[in-house]
Amino acid sequence: MKMKIWDRRRECARREEIDELQRRNLAHTLKWAYDNVAMYRHRMDKAGFDPTAFKCPDDLRRLPFTTKQDLRDNYPFGLFAVPKDKLVRIHSSSGTTGKPTVVGYTRRDLRTWSELVARMVTAAGVTHRDTIQISFGYGLFTGGFGLHYGMERVGASVVPVSSGNTQRQLMIMQDFGTTALVSTPSYAMYMAETLAEAGIDPAGLELRYGLFGSEPWSEEMRTELEHKWNITATDNYGLSEIMGPGVSGECLLKQGMHLAEDHFFFEIIDPKTEEPLPAGEEGELVITTLTKEALPVIRYRTRDITRIITDPCPCGRTLYRMTRVVGRTDDMLIIRGVNVFPSQVESVLLEIEGTQPHYQLVVDRQGQLDTLEVWVEVSDNLFFNEMKRMHELSETIRSRIESVLGLNVKIKLVEPRSLARSEGKAKRVLDMRKK
């Protein structure tokens, strides 16, 4: 398979070049943050850290982490390193769980962002000949605009549909001849259902690629989406606090997401001890920006659980890869002392033929004991008129989930469409235990 590479010089650079670039830019960023952001100056002073004496990435370990709370505490512009007149874009989180976090970009930051998204979408198969339907929400969320400008940079025809109005999405897809869809995986699944209900044959669409991101999903869900839409689906990763989409993305070999190591420095830590883990171990991803002007971020705790792959990728890119995010430390449920990620349950459900990944984990506590119920919507393939076969079905689901999680679970089959649907990120967990 001949695959295009957007920026061969950077994406296929020798390791020593990347290391040297990272070291140089880390030194610059630390100095930049010290000189321009009060919080970082205080923290470095307190740690006795002299940014001008920075030698190698290991020195970073002496600095504390930056968290989402730090961004909230400095709402709105407290962590910005440039005066407001240098900003050309401001994005923000929704703030549903507290004060929103606000992020800003200089002209150069936006150029870098578009460049990295262009790199990512090229790796995912997109060229200037494609017609792109962006079904991420536009607005304050970085997903829509991030993909938008990166796609334009590549020269593709961008249709900025935004999320929602599924019927219209499908109409545009058919009439405009969309060749690549950008959305969350759960919304792509929901659209696929609507497609099937409308009796539209995906083979008749021009759609070839799906670029899915902004929430954790599983390999089984990829298989399902590829089958339902008759496309190649790739995963990509990003977060607004760092930049937005474009931090990493899969190439068509689909074996991990290539990291933009020339613009970010990545560490993996143990989320409990906060100690860095050796290469290849699974833990929480921590990111330091290397070139950001408006909002340099040092050792940001992403809460995302992943692993870094240092083996070279057969596609020719030398940038290291990260595996798909298995979950978030804040999505991670601890049930009777066992770590549970919703994605584990999803994998099991998709393995059982006919099961739609419409499910919810309901955690509660009876007396001193945590209970886990998995609610699964029945479907045509998942309903039998004989009670014993229904019972067998519940039992199959139960025993497979139990063997994966190592926990007793109760399966509750519920009516189709009774679990909440979302056009953005899916709500997979209902935790009713008292905090």
């Binding site: 004989e386 089959l413 009516e415």
Partner: protein, 138 residues
């Protein structure tokens, strides 16, 4: 001719059966017989209605999950040992009954492994088998 049965998945929560029956009633569909098999969280509602095609389409349209099956409807002799004689005939031919329930009168619908074989067997033995259309219009 077999009798069509619709099996519907219904969650065990207040008002679901009422919604189901109201839908059918409003569409002018008459329920000729039914049975409910229930687990703690959900039940399977089995329906014999006069217009099975319409009913199935209507329920599916309202997001119910519906499965259709062919059952045989038998007029069981209304006397001691009546049901027993029918069941003996089936078991003697190794036909397994998945489930059965009485509908109007002494009519009982049977979900058996092989409805065709069961039907001819019973007919040969002089048992009255009632056709679907006949059931719907009783």
């Amino acid at each position: 001719m077999h009798t069509r049965e619709l099996s519907v998945f219904v969650e065990n929560k207040a008002g679901r059966l009422a919604v189901l029956t109201k839908l059918l009633g409003q569409a002018g569909i008459n329920i000729r017989g039914f049975s409910v098999a229930d687990m703690s969280d959900y039940g399977i509602v089995r329906l014999i209605v006069d217009k099975p095609d319409e009913a199935a389409a209507l329920l599916r349209d309202r997001s119910f999950i519906v499965r259709e099956s062919n059952l045989i409807c038998i007029r069981v002799p209304d006397q001691p040992g009546g049901l027993s004689s029918i069941l003996n005939m089936l078991s003697a031919s190794d036909i397994n009954v998945e489930y059965m329930y009485a509908i109007v009168d002494t009519l009982i619908v049977f979900n058996v492994e092989n409805p065709d074989q069961a039907e001819s067997l019973l007919l040969e033995s002089g048992v009255k088998v009632v056709s679907g259309p006949e059931v719907y219009s009783l």
